[in-house]
Symmetry: C2
């Protein structure tokens, strides 16, 4: 029984931003270990041009491996129609598109305006055909939804407008992402409420970064607003909290500890999660990994939620 | 205008657990810098036997310095009547007693049962006389209120019972402390509510540790339960999040960023806070300091509350 759904994004968001490359075979072992711990949804890679992000060049092969793991929902990122075609060919169960609410970020990240990006998503939905045809789930993730390092504040109305456009373009779900770690709990509550008012249950989940240490507090606020799906990254991979501009995702291990200690079942076995952490460290020994709970250990007599 | 009250406990809880000693003159400079940033309540030391905790041997001198800073509320810890007499002599504005809800912790920490500890507090209240006589504020802080590394779970009814006993013993306020970093947000809400039901506005504030990364999430939960006073430690001093058993306090810098970003005024100037952090690093260069916000920097165009 899971009361919340966690999507492990370390193999994509983490490795994409890591300073070192993880070999393909190590990625496969890590993903298998993550799945064995109970993480049944993993964003395994990104169909971006390999020249732009070499760490993601093996995504098709990694997707193929992930598809061989029973019960695992295999997610991949695509930034445009071309990437989506590769995701289709690879057979990913779910494809996520990053759609920036910040115009400046959108232009620097995907060289398109937000509206042009929505148009790409619309074309991909058409390419897939109706959901019942068996094609992948399509997600339009609103990035920089809580602020942007380039333009500062992002108007909340702009996020709502983009969410509505994405639903009209036919996406199956719209998560909100705090790409640069600007979000605070009050804003999280407000923005999730506004977007839910506009698109109802198409509002999907929360993707937080721990840049200013507020990842878990923001996740708590989102949970209390009714959000039940969260992205996180093992070891807080992909950003160093001890370097300027740190941008690691919220840490899977601590997120799971928080929810489990609150009595909210995540479906994850904490001991097997530590084994997956060991697989991560083995596959990427030069990269720092973070997380308080793995180092402090579980509390004495701690029991996971049913 | 402050909407919450933060008590900086780094010079006591932080330095007491640090691996290195901060020289007395450096303590004074650090405390002055903290006060200059707007931290108008600082726990500056502990009147424990110097042989037990050498880092606190200079507490009387540090209190004397802190008393010379206009507008600063000077707090000191005392573990018993003897310590309280020293605090009285030094002239601290407020004395806090650690009263463990865990019997095992109480016996190992102060070599008394919780009931014997309450009796010590009662004697100190008598020694002071009525609050109107000008003596110090007396606080009975319930430590290990959320669990204990020695005995595991701590019954909530035991915490409530102890809070009532402390109020009957005449204390001015009862904060709840998660001494070992076991608390979770659901428990925080529940326990603060129960204790408030029992002792009303004598319930004072929250003291969290960040051992398992939940410090800010717990502070958020407490805030939403109406708590308006928080202890925290600059740089998360006194515990290493990258070592087993880490037990650093919730980090002042990140706590302030969280509340300010939510629009809740703390009365602290963030830039001056960074100057105080520099004074800490200068006074204790060998000790690791933590905190996400100081390293990532404030968000672009960030404005502090009111």
């Amino acid at each position: 029984m899971r009361q919340i759904q966690i999507c492990e994004v370390g193999p994509r968001d983490g490795l994409q931003n890591a300073k070192h490359l993880m070999p393909t075979e190590a990625k496969k072992r890590w993903i298998s270990a993550l799945a064995a711990a109970g993480l049944d949804e993993i964003e395994v890679g990104s169909f971006v041009p390999p020249k732009l992000i070499p760490a993601m060049a093996d995504t098709a092969e990694v997707v193929k491996h992930a598809l061989s793991i029973p019960g695992l929902k295999v997610v991949a990122l695509a930034p445009n129609v071309k990437g989506f075609e590769r995701a289709l060919e690879a057979g990913a169960h779910k494809v996520t598109f990053p759609v920036s609410a910040s115009r400046k970020h959108s232009e620097s990240n995907v060289r398109m305006t937000p509206e042009q990006m929505v148009e790409q998503v619309r074309q991909c939905v058409a390419l897939r055909g109706p959901r019942s045809s068996g094609g992948p789930e399509i997600e339009g993730a609103i990035s920089t939804a809580f602020g942007c390092t380039l333009q500062g504040a992002v108007p909340e109305d702009e996020v709502v407008r983009l969410a509505v456009m994405l639903v009209e373009a036919g996406v199956d779900g719209v998560p909100l992402a705090d790409t640069v770690g600007y979000a605070n709990p009050a804003q999280v509550r407000r923005l999730f409420r506004k977007v839910r008012d506009a698109i109802g249950d198409k509002l999907e989940g929360a993707h937080f970064h721990n840049t200013r240490g507020l990842g878990l507090a923001n996740a708590l606020a989102a949970y209390e607003e009714g959000v039940r799906a969260f992205d996180s990254s093992m070891g807080g991979l992909g950003g160093c909290p001890f370097a300027p501009g740190a941008s690691g995702n919220v840490i899977t291990e601590d997120l799971i500890f928080m929810f489990e200690s609150m009595g909210i079942a995540t479906g994850i076995d904490f001991n097997k999660l530590l084994a997956a952490r060991a697989a991560l460290v083995e596959g990427l020994p030069e990269e720092p990994v973070y997380g308080h709970t793995p180092l402090a250990g579980l509390p004495k007599n701690f029991r996971q939620a049913a």
